[in-house]
Amino acid sequence: MGETLFDRVWASHVVAENPTLLYIELHLVHEVTSPQAFEGLRLAGRRVRRPDLTLATMDHAVPTDGGPITDPMAKEQLDALRRNCEEFGVPLFATGSGHEGIVHVIGPELGLTRPGITIVCGDSHTSTHGALGALAFGIGTSEVEHVLATQTLVLPRPKSMRIRFVGDLPFGLTPKDVILGAIAQMGVAGAKGHVVEYSGAAIRAMSMEGRMTVCNMTVEGGGRAGYVCPDDTTFAYLEGRASSPTGAEWERALDEWRALVTDDDATFDREVVVDVERLRPQVSWGTNPGMTTSVDGRVPDPSEFSEPSERATVERALEYMALEPGTPIEEIRVDRVFIGSCTNSRIEDLRAAASVVRGRRVHPKVRALVVPGSAIVKAQAEAEGLDRVFTEAGFEWRHAGCSMCLGMNPDVLAPGERCASTSNRNFEGRQGRGGRTHLVSPEMAAAAAIEGRFVDVRELIGAGA
């Protein structure tokens, strides 16, 4: 029987069985989920086994306005990371180093993320790295400590699943719409316990940035990890990156990577088919990413749900979101727009948003923010003049960081504010206590910023739906 890429990568990293001890080739570290892990090492007199396979950055708590950190707890946390990295010899890309950024943006852009390796990080969106054909898991702090000390993880083997996108991507449909549509179809627990392979023509046609958006949101569908089998798009993306192999080593790496396929006769524990041709630009209306519909749809009526607990959940979500049943999505007005996060802050995302914004103005009642995912993305966008497109339209142009995705830094919604956001979670209070989040693509967020409400971005950019 054939093997999946997941089978191959898993098998090539097993150190011991019963229980399975999996070797980790890249451990990414950030300030929020690591201090207690380093403290654990210190208390037990342990060292970091492989600092050369470990990289730390600052992203969650950093202010993005370029100013100093004024929150004493955030400052203490960032200082702790600096001290811990010094003490344990872990390379750190600190704020201001020019290499800092959201951990899931810098891994791929530096060429550290690559096909066939195992990656962990104390962050659920580590699934992002699977876009390059890596096996990448989010872990908790105890596991962070375990990996620091042993470079391995004790991990029961997850089940396998394939999400096959059928049909060609319609005009104006983005990777964000594709993954939101898939989650809306299968639910937020649809991939629970599984490592997900994304396949189909729509995935093959996507850029690396687009695949990262898709893999990033695997966890919002409940999946343990998500990946795309590497192809020429992957190899072209990796060639020439800071950490990518060169010369004969590059050729050797290519041979290795080309063997990382899922065989035609490989089987999965579960298969789901998503028809992308029926999809329209997506907008979430509720308090989890599965509560999503098309921009031409309406806020659902709880009475449409026959199952009592589901009905109660929808009622509760609408109450939190302050939405009336049956409201057309296009009539929902927004106060804030956030373009950024590990889901949608890469150069291609910013180009896509800028293409909608160019020559237009942010609606007078909207405050809009663009936060590049890394210092490198920021520099590249500025070299392309994208920063001016945004600022001339009335957007704020910020420094790299997680920013308003999770409200752990000064970028938060005020209670009751409604935001069109390119991030990944619309949970209650996620972007600030009482804040109301609608998940959309960068293009849809840009369109909402201009119109002050949700509109089908395809009407702004030309060709019809």
Binding site: A16, P19, L21, Y23, E25, L26, T33, P35, Q36, G40, R46, P51, D52, L53, L55, H60, D71, M73, A74, A80, P91, L92, S97, H99, L110, L112, D123, S124, I139, G140, T141, S142, E145, H146, A149, Q151, T152, V154, P156, P158, V188, A189, G193, V219, G222, R224, A242, S243, N288, S309, A312, T313, R316, L406, G407, R425, F427, E428, G429, R430
Partner: protein, 206 residues
Amino acid sequence: MRAFRRTTARVAVLDRPNVDTDQIIAKQFLKSIARTGFGQYLFLDWRVDENGNPRPDFELNNPAYADAKILLAGPNFGCGSSREHAPWALLEYGFDVVVAPSFGDIFKMNSTKCGLVPIELPAEQVRKLIDEVDAQNGSEVTVDLETKTIVSPNGETIPFEFDDFIREELLEGRDEIGRTLMQEGAISAFEAAHPVRIDTAALAVS
């Protein structure tokens, strides 16, 4: 890690699906570099209003659930963020066990690493337990990890499945890192057999 074998304790019911870890412990409390101090912030926005007064309609404020050590929850409990602060907060608030039809994968793993026992039961069985607890306006349940059984308020014994290795770790409160470090030979052999492909140190700029 703290050990767990068996408890007979009061039960609290939080019968909602997809309770995410952002609700269990909100982001503003993740700036702490300590491993303790999170219990007081458990479900904060659901538990208290803007003025810090308890919201009477929130389940955990039900007096019948006071001093509960066992939480009966809905499906996909603990979905979302990987923050281990969520099980830390539940433990510190007083819970030893969460019983639900299913858990978020990372939350479940994190719980077992810090001594919170996540038990999965079929949805109908969780429903029946909830009904029994509510019928008696709060009541005691026994959870025994050694025998993998739950004794319901009505005295019914319900068996549950649990990963054998993780169960042993929880029963003994084992230091998993210490155990893995005993496999140093296997780890070194793996490293010797596999050439290094990554070097983060070569990239370091500061």
